[in-house]
């Protein structure tokens, strides 16, 4: 193998046709306000846990909607349910219940 001084980067394109939407469907049935999210990131910006851990609520929302289940669990247990995210959400998404619903989805779906 030759080292040309640069490398191949892994393709990060996501195929929406191959996403696993079971988590999204279950969470939406438990907390329909998930569909109100506009992805502004205010939740992540104010998150107390995110200051110290890898919890990122906006990213969670994105990967659930994509059906990319590999990174759903990352940081989820770090939520302290302080509710600041819910206070700043401009769309009124019930984020604490969303986290609970997601935990329940993981219990059911693995």
């Amino acid at each position: 193998m030759i080292d040309f001084g640069y490398t191949l980067t892994r393709d990060r394109q996501f195929d929406y046709d191959r996403g696993d939407l079971r988590y999204y469907r279950l969470v939406r049935s438990l907390e329909p306000s998930i569909d109100l999210c506009i992805g502004c990131g205010s939740c992540s910006a104010t998150c107390s846990a995110a200051q110290f851990t890898n919890l990122n609520i906006r990213k969670l929302h994105t990967v659930i909607r994509r059906g990319d289940t590999t990174s759903i669990k990352a940081g989820l247990r770090k939520c302290m349910f302080c509710g600041k995210c819910q206070l700043v959400c401009p769309r009124g998404v019930n984020l604490r219940n969303l986290i609970l619903a997601l935990n329940r989805a993981i219990e059911q779906l693995g």
Binding site: M1, I2, F4, G5, Y6, T7, L8, T9, D11, Q13
Partner: protein, 355 residues
């Protein structure tokens, strides 16, 4: 969405291509990449009875610098104005470019002047002050692949070979790749617009081949200018090409046909680089997929000697395609120059089959 409907919409994107008397401007890089492509264009144009005029004083259009964020647009426009002045001085009004990026830049400049006449006047002033020259805008602007597309039936009639496997009788499976600057910036300037550009498809179909559709068909070849020009960024370039190769491989293409200086360079060279970096090849039996410019392919169809077309400098060997098309070639002459002297033989790649 029904693809047939989309094709119907894009069918309306046609352009007028002059029939004769062309002022031809070469690419600043192509002669290094595929040295006989432009010469071959001039050769078959002459054989088809067309008058093509060249002025050796013409320079780069500066598009490569403009798209690399090095040359400002005003400078680029003044350089383009000088090329137009050379055309006007020679008494021509049909401007033909060898390079896709040049074609895109000329289109962009003419479009800018159309909408901002004050800018055109300013550039005329710059050219006058710098060189004392005046110019008339071209009546017809075309890329050399447009002109070849227009002559595709004549080339087919005069041709000795077809894009058909002479053993099985099946059409050769061809991936066509259009340079981004051909019609993605100004869809109305290309045959078939941006989404279904027909310029290369027309040639492939006329010459007997089968066009392959695949998911990443309209993805960039990977050149992307700044992705390649800075060495540290070349991983982006080769990864873009790899994305295309991975996408086309299941459809078993036997040839990649291009109309841009950068695309054949990167789709050809990166196949070698990927084979050396991770051992992957994309053709049959450890071969690569041969990559050609439309001039080289037209030359093959017309029966020109493959080594006169410069096919020996391709990184991916073209011999599998020549054998399928039944085109004779002399392996002993592959690395001889025009005087019969040895040009030196490259070191064989470690993964890709070498001839």
């Amino acid at each position: 969405m029904k693809p047939e409907g989309k094709r119907l919409v894009w069918n309306e994107y046609q352009k007028e291509i002059a029939n004769d008397n062309y002022f031809y401007v070469r690419s600043c890089v192509r002669q290094n990449f595929f040295p006989a492509a432009e010469k071959t264009f001039l050769r078959y144009m002459k054989e088809m009875g067309r008058n093509v005029f060249e002025n050796p004083s013409h320079t780069t259009c500066s598009g490569i610098g403009y798209h690399s964020d090095i040359v400002p647009f005003e400078t680029a426009m003044t350089m383009v104005a000088r090329q137009f002045a050379l055309m006007s001085e020679a008494g021509y009004e049909n401007f033909v470019t060898s390079c896709i990026t040049s074609f895109g830049l000329y289109s962009e400049v003419l479009e800018t002047w159309e909408h901002f006449p004050a800018v055109e006047e300013k550039i005329r002033g710059h050219l006058r002050n710098a060189t004392g020259r005046e110019f008339v805008k071209p009546k017809n602007l075309a890329h050399a692949s447009d002109v070849t597309f227009k002559l595709r039936k004549d080339i087919s009639k005069a041709g000795k070979y077809r894009l058909i496997n002479h053993i099985t009788g099946n059409p050769i499976r061809v991936v066509e790749h259009i340079g981004c600057h051909y019609s993605k910036m100004f869809p109305s300037k290309g045959v078939g617009g941006a989404e279904y550009p027909y310029v290369l498809i027309g040639m492939i179909e006329e010459w007997g081949g089968e066009v392959i559709d695949y998911p990443e068909r309209r993805h960039c070849c990977g050149f992307g200018f700044r992705q390649y020009l800075v060495k540290a960024n070349r991983g982006y370039s080769v990864s873009s090409s790899k994305k295309k190769f991975d996408s086309m491989k299941p459809y078993k293409p036997e040839l990649i046909l291009t109309n841009c200086p950068g695309c054949p360079m990167f789709l050809d060279r990166w196949q070698y680089a990927i084979s050396e970096m991770e051992g992957t090849t994309y053709g049959e039996n450890g071969q690569g997929i041969p990559v050609m410019t439309y001039e080289e392919l037209a030359g093959l169809i017309l029966g020109y000697d493959p080594w006169d077309l410069g096919l020996q400098v391709h990184q991916v060997p073209v011999e599998p395609l020549l054998e399928k098309m039944g085109i004779p070639y002399d392996p002993a002459k592959k690395f001889l120059d025009i005087n019969g002297n040895s040009m030196g033989k490259p070191k064989p790649p470690s993964s890709m089959k070498f001839y």
